[in-house]
């Protein structure tokens, strides 16, 4: 094993240690900045795209004490170049962005899925499975996992937290077989064990359409997790309305409908703290629309013009510093508008810019169906 591979294994081990220690509420052996800067040094040496970015910005991880002083890799770069510290022959998995937007798909290669799994399970447990629901049934809406990180994560949750798992199927051109889903929900409603219904927001929209207004009362302790937007995938439904519809359809309290925020380019996720708060557990935010990052993921809003970090509560476009991204980019810059305060991130959608002038194609339009 060469030195780079040894270093990679060491870093993955340190990050998993950080995740496990911090998730259990204990002291961590590493501090965030030390570990983040060590990962940034490793990536500067082994991720050519990151090395180019650092050279262009005339900064090096060895000369800083905080990862915040380093440039973040924009999500678009994952579409245009390989962002990985290891060779393709060492890929254990490649997660890809949705292929529905017409543009090339972004790729996030991983040399191991262990760290991703560790992060996903730890924070999923914090937000969704903290009560270790007994005899849980997992219903996953939508197609198989394919190569999406979300599909991988939902499969992981079903494997680790549920005793029964059901994945909906497509039928006669419809994305979700409503009769099949109704039968599963009926059976689950009669059982004495809680259920988690999981899927993307557009999968929930399709599911609600497929169920045609049917109502179920899932057993006490049941919950739902939804994530992502709808652009180009289904009719658009406002988040509040979708949450109400999900709650009404499955017989859940709206606080038990938990939003997740994640992306292919990250290895960690954020969740609304509504279900925890409902059960009397601590959470930095108990509001819908506010997403709580885990201790191994730091989020800061940045100035849209300069990409420089902004102060707390100032709205800007979000930058993520994710320790679990050992193999790719410790810091990822998105175009999502948000505000960070009180340990949670409020998502604000797209920047409220003036309407585009002229007839040049807007990037947004390219993303339209």
């Amino acid at each position: 094993m060469n030195r780079a591979a040894q270093e990679r294994l060491r870093l993955h081990g340190r990050v998993r240690g950080f995740i496990e220690e911090s998730a259990s509420g204990g002291e961590t052996s590493d501090d965030f900045e030390t570990l983040a800067c060590a990962i940034a040094c490793y990536q500067a040496d082994h991720v050519p795209a990151y090395a180019r970015l650092l050279a262009a910005e005339r900064v090096h991880p060895r000369s800083v004490t905080s990862v915040r002083a380093l440039p973040a890799v924009p999500t678009d770069a994952f579409r245009l170049a390989r962002i990985a510290a290891h060779a393709p022959s060492d890929d254990a998995a490649i997660f890809r962005t949705s292929g529905t937007t017409g543009a090339a798909r972004g790729e996030h290669p991983l040399s191991t899925t262990e760290t991703y799994e560790c992060a996903a399970l730890a924070w999923g447990r914090w937000a969704l499975f903290f009560d270790a629901p007994p005899a849980l049934t997992a219903i996953t809406l939508g197609a198989g996992p394919g190569d999406s990180s979300l599909g991988f994560m939902l499969g992981l949750f079903a494997d680790r937290f549920a005793v029964r798992a059901h994945r909906t199927t497509a039928v006669r051109g419809a994305p979700i077989d409503g009769a099949d889903l109704a039968a599963v929900c009926d059976a689950a409603s009669r059982a004495d064990a809680p259920v988690i219904v999981m899927g993307t927001s557009f999968a929930f929209v399709h599911a609600l359409d497929a169920l045609g207004g049917a109502r179920f009362t899932l057993p006490p302790g049941s919950r739902a997790m939804h994530t992502g937007g709808y652009k180009g995938r289904s009719r658009e439904v406002a988040p509040d309305a979708l949450r109400m519809d999900i709650a009404a359809t499955f017989g859940l309290d709206t606080d038990a409908v938990v939003g997740e925020y994640g992306m292919t380019e990250l290895s960690s996720q954020l969740y609304e703290g509504t279900l925890r708060a409902r059960r009397g557990l601590s959470a930095p935010s108990s509001q819908h629309g506010f997403f709580v990052p885990p201790p191994w993921l730091r989020v800061v809003a940045t100035d849209p013009d300069t990409l420089e970090p902004l102060g707390p509560s100032e709205p800007g476009i979000l930058r993520f510093e994710d320790l679990a991204n050992v193999d790719s980019a410790i810091a990822v810059q998105t175009a999502d508008l948000g505000r960070c305060s009180g340990g949670a991130v409020e998502l604000l959608g797209r920047a409220p810019g003036a309407p585009p002038r002229g007839c040049s194609l807007a990037i947004e339009e390219l993303l339209a169906p």
Binding site: R79, A103, C359, S360
Partner: protein, 363 residues
């Protein structure tokens, strides 16, 4: 003759000539209306004064060959009444939009954009001063009837909305957004010349036109692509001194910052005061930079690269600029982008007045 009767070819051509005559007045800085256009358009468009002058003096259609007018008339079709809904478009586009409409119908009503409500009324005033009066009317509201045709310029969502809300029997013809792609064959013209020409295409209307080049494909070596990007950056720097860029929107500024950083990671980035030229020497995919004055330079080796890279954009490219019309790469690109205009570098923003700018679906 009632409004429902079809125009003769001669009448159609004559009506277009009336519009061009009016446009000539606006192009003339010594004409009171030309002076008024120069005074009002910077605020209405966001362009600098020099940017407006460039549009009026270099890109405003003021004449056309007989052959081009023949094609325009043929493409215009006929309608008893045409409504033209303008967007906050490239301001000179008003002339072509009106020309196309008056060639199609005796009764033309033009609704200016609320955000750029200068050019269409000025053109109307210039035309109204002529002996026969203006061949079109300006209106604030569209009141369509069955049989009418609506020419809608704007974003896809605008066109879709008009289509949804239009009365039964009204035909909506949409002219949506797009962008231009330049193809530079490194073995043809010297690269500095190609860069110089392309820079003029880029700066026109601060790249907000549907013909504006935002991607340049360089057929050649990595060194060729990088040399072209160097020269293009130098040319854009020079253009900025001659024709300063206007103000950017919030979205444009944000996308500019993200594009700069993305290309710093992916390849190389030449950033000037008002432009970015990003270079991807081994493109896995193409990135569309924001409008403003930014060009994404990607090196291509084989004709198969074209399909691979342009597949997601195939229906969005309205114009191909090229420095070698006879090269196999150019022929492959034009074939791939069926419907896109093919124009020499430096002329991408001045297509012949032979129909709508966007010929997609017509070729």
């Amino acid at each position: 003759m009632t409004r429902g009767e079809e125009l003769t070819i001669e009448e159609r051509v004559g009506r277009v000539h009336d519009v061009l005559a009016a446009a000539r007045r606006l192009a003339d800085p010594n004409d009171p209306l030309g002076e008024e256009a120069r005074r009002l358009l910077p605020a209405a468009t966001g362009l600098s004064e020099a940017g407006v002058e460039l549009g009026l003096s270099r890109h405003l259609e003021t004449s056309a060959s007989d052959e081009d007018l023949e094609r325009l008339v043929a493409r215009a079709g006929f309608a008893p009444r045409v409504h033209v809904l303008l967007s906050a478009n490239v301001f000179v586009a008003v002339v072509r939009a009106v020309a196309l409409a008056v060639a199609a119908s005796r009764s033309v009503r033009v609704r200016p954009s609320s955000r750029e409500a200068v050019m269409a009324p000025l053109l109307h005033r210039a035309a109204a001063d002529a002996t026969g009066g203006a061949p079109f009317a300006i209106c604030e509201r569209v009141e369509s009837s069955p049989g009418d045709v609506m020419h809608v310029y704007g974003r896809l969502e605008t066109i879709d909305a008009v289509e949804r809300e239009s009365r039964p029997g009204v035909r909506v013809v949409g002219y949506g957004p797009g962008f231009g792609v330049a193809l530079v064959d490194a073995r043809s013209d010297p690269l500095p010349l190609a860069a110089e020409r392309l820079s003029w295409d880029v700066i026109a209307f601060d790249q907000r036109g549907c013909l504006s080049p935002r991607v340049a494909l360089v057929h050649g070596s990595v060194a060729d692509a990088e040399a072209f990007a160097d020269r293009l950056a130098a040319a854009l720097d020079e253009r900025d001194r001659q024709v300063p860029r206007g103000a950017l929107t919030d979205d444009e500024r944000r996308e500019q910052a993200l594009y700069h950083r993305t290309m710093s990671a992916v390849g190389r980035c030449h950033a000037g005061a008002t432009f970015i030229v990003g270079v991807d020497p081994a493109p896995r995919a193409l990135m569309l930079p924001p409008s403003g004055r930014h060009v994404h330079v990607a090196r291509i080796e084989e004709t198969s690269d074209l399909a691979r890279l342009l597949e997601p954009f195939q229906n969005a490219v309205t114009c191909v600029g090229r420095n070698d019309p006879e090269s196999s790469m150019t022929r492959s690109l034009v074939t791939l982008l069926r419907g896109a205009r093919s124009l020499p570098l430096g002329r991408m923003q001045s297509p012949p007045l032979d129909g709508p700018v966007d010929l997609r679906g017509m070729l």
